[in-house]
């Protein structure tokens, strides 16, 4: 069985964020984590080639990049394609998902990816792509590789996959019918009684993770609109005085914009590492567009701008933490009569 492995620039050993623009390239045989994949696949399969692409280029220039990546993969004549593990890296996860999707659509071949269940890419691709759950960091590389190998072998042989819970991939949505031993009403009553007694029970229908938020009514009187900027880009004063973390941030901060008409080079630093900060350091208005907002207020196209911005770091952000930050920031905004927010995401 011929297996092709897709990796980003980091796991291929080329470089980090600074090499996120690495163009699509291929190498014979396994590279980096592919070596462990080869081992896990055993005698029945071979990693015949590895296709590599920089996460930044893949995200920014997907129209050009995706066909090239698929072409390189096709060149190895795979029976199955393995992408990742991407762990909690957002752009890498998106690239892996897209690669698997395109391989199925354009080459008609099976593919499997691995990433952390809270990776943003899971929500985008879970309906179409087989995704194996992994840990958030490369600490769980071994387990992820073994799970990928197991599924790759099954998919490569043309076998049908069983339910997600049995096969070890993230549920995609479609339900398969099975025969149970008791009626739904009996099972429902058992669950209700367990809940009343405070005993554990397993829900049969897990509720979706994301709330649906009713869209707030628009603010139509621009001359009265009071806007604040909230961002996860990690833009902080030099020295990072409040010690914002560059990953899994546990806090949010509020910094004054009083007396400033724009944000200049040297006035801020970026605590993030999920994106190349060079552009933002040259001109922080590229993240927090203060110059443009001040201009709109001067021209009376915007009522007023709050003289402070709110910042956290969205790199591998823990969802429950981010929700808590949002609640606290919203309360602070309401106290200052802010009615609109520009939320800038990197």
């Amino acid at each position: 069985m011929r297996v092709v492995h897709y990796l980003n620039q980091f796991f291929a050993g080329i470089g980090g964020e600074d090499r996120a623009d690495t163009p699509p390239t291929s190498r014979r045989g396994p590279v980096g984590p592919g070596l462990a994949l080869r081992q896990a696949l055993g005698a029945d399969a071979e990693v015949v080639g590895t296709v590599i692409c920089g996460d930044g280029l893949f995200a920014d220039r997907s129209d050009d990049t995706v066909p090239e990546v698929v072409r390189l993969i096709e060149g190895f004549e795979p029976d199955v394609v393995v992408a990742g593990p991407a762990f909690n890296a957002g752009r890498y996860g998106l690239a892996c998902g897209r690669v698997c999707q395109e391989v199925a659509a354009r080459l008609g071949q099976p593919a499997v990816a691995a990433m952390y269940p809270e990776n943003a890419a899971v929500e985008v691709f879970r309906g179409e792509v087989i995704i194996v759950p992994s840990s958030a960091t490369a600490v769980g590389m071994k387990e992820a590789i073994h799970a990928l190998a197991r599924l790759a072998l099954k998919l490569g042989r043309g076998g049908a996959l069983g339910p997600a819970a049995e096969e070890g991939y993230l549920p995609r949505g479609p339900r398969m019918n099975t025969r149970g031993d008791r009626s739904a009403s009996a099972r429902a009553l058992d669950m209700l009684l367990a809940r009343r007694a405070g005993a554990p029970f397993t829900t049969e229908v897990p509720l979706p993770q994301y709330d649906r938020v009713v869209p707030p009514a628009p603010v139509t009187h621009l001359s009265r609109m009071r806007l604040a900027v909230v961002t996860e880009c990690g833009l902080v004063p030099p020295g990072n005085p409040d010690r914002l973390e560059w990953v899994r941030a546990s806090k949010w901060l509020k910094y004054s914009l009083e007396g400033k008409d724009d944000l200049g080079p040297g006035e801020y630093e970026v605590v993030h590492s999920g994106y190349d900060a060079a552009f933002a350091l040259q001109d922080p208005d590229r993240l927090v567009p203060l110059d443009a907002l001040r201009e709109l207020v001067r021209r009376r196209e915007l009522g007023s701008l709050l003289d402070a911005y709110y910042v956290t770091c969205g790199n591998h952000g823990v969802l429950s933490q981010m929700a808590q930050h949002a609640r606290e920031i919203a309360a602070d905004l309401r106290r200052q009569h802010v009615d609109t927010v520009l939320l800038v995401a990197t």
Binding site: P215, P218, L227, A280, R286
Partner: protein, 67 residues
């Protein structure tokens, strides 16, 4: 404001405006400084427009559509 609107829409953000690259959502370093400032002004003006627009659910707005 994001360069990855697919993610924002999926998680239920209701008003999503496509920004530039993720390392500079409100920046366009390919332009000369004065042109970049004008470009950013147009983008932020569009953001204000989005905030004054009624939506029924997660909606993607593109920067180019001028009022």
């Amino acid at each position: 404001m994001t360069s990855l609107p697919a993610v924002a829409l999926k998680v239920g953000a209701n008003r999503v405006l496509r920004g530039n690259r993720f390392s500079h959502p409100c920046g366009n370093p390919a332009l000369a400084p004065a042109d970049e400032r004008a470009w950013r002004l147009a983008l932020v003006r569009r953001a204000i427009e989005v905030l004054s627009t009624r939506v029924e659910g997660p909606t993607l707005f593109e920067p180019q559509e001028a009022a």
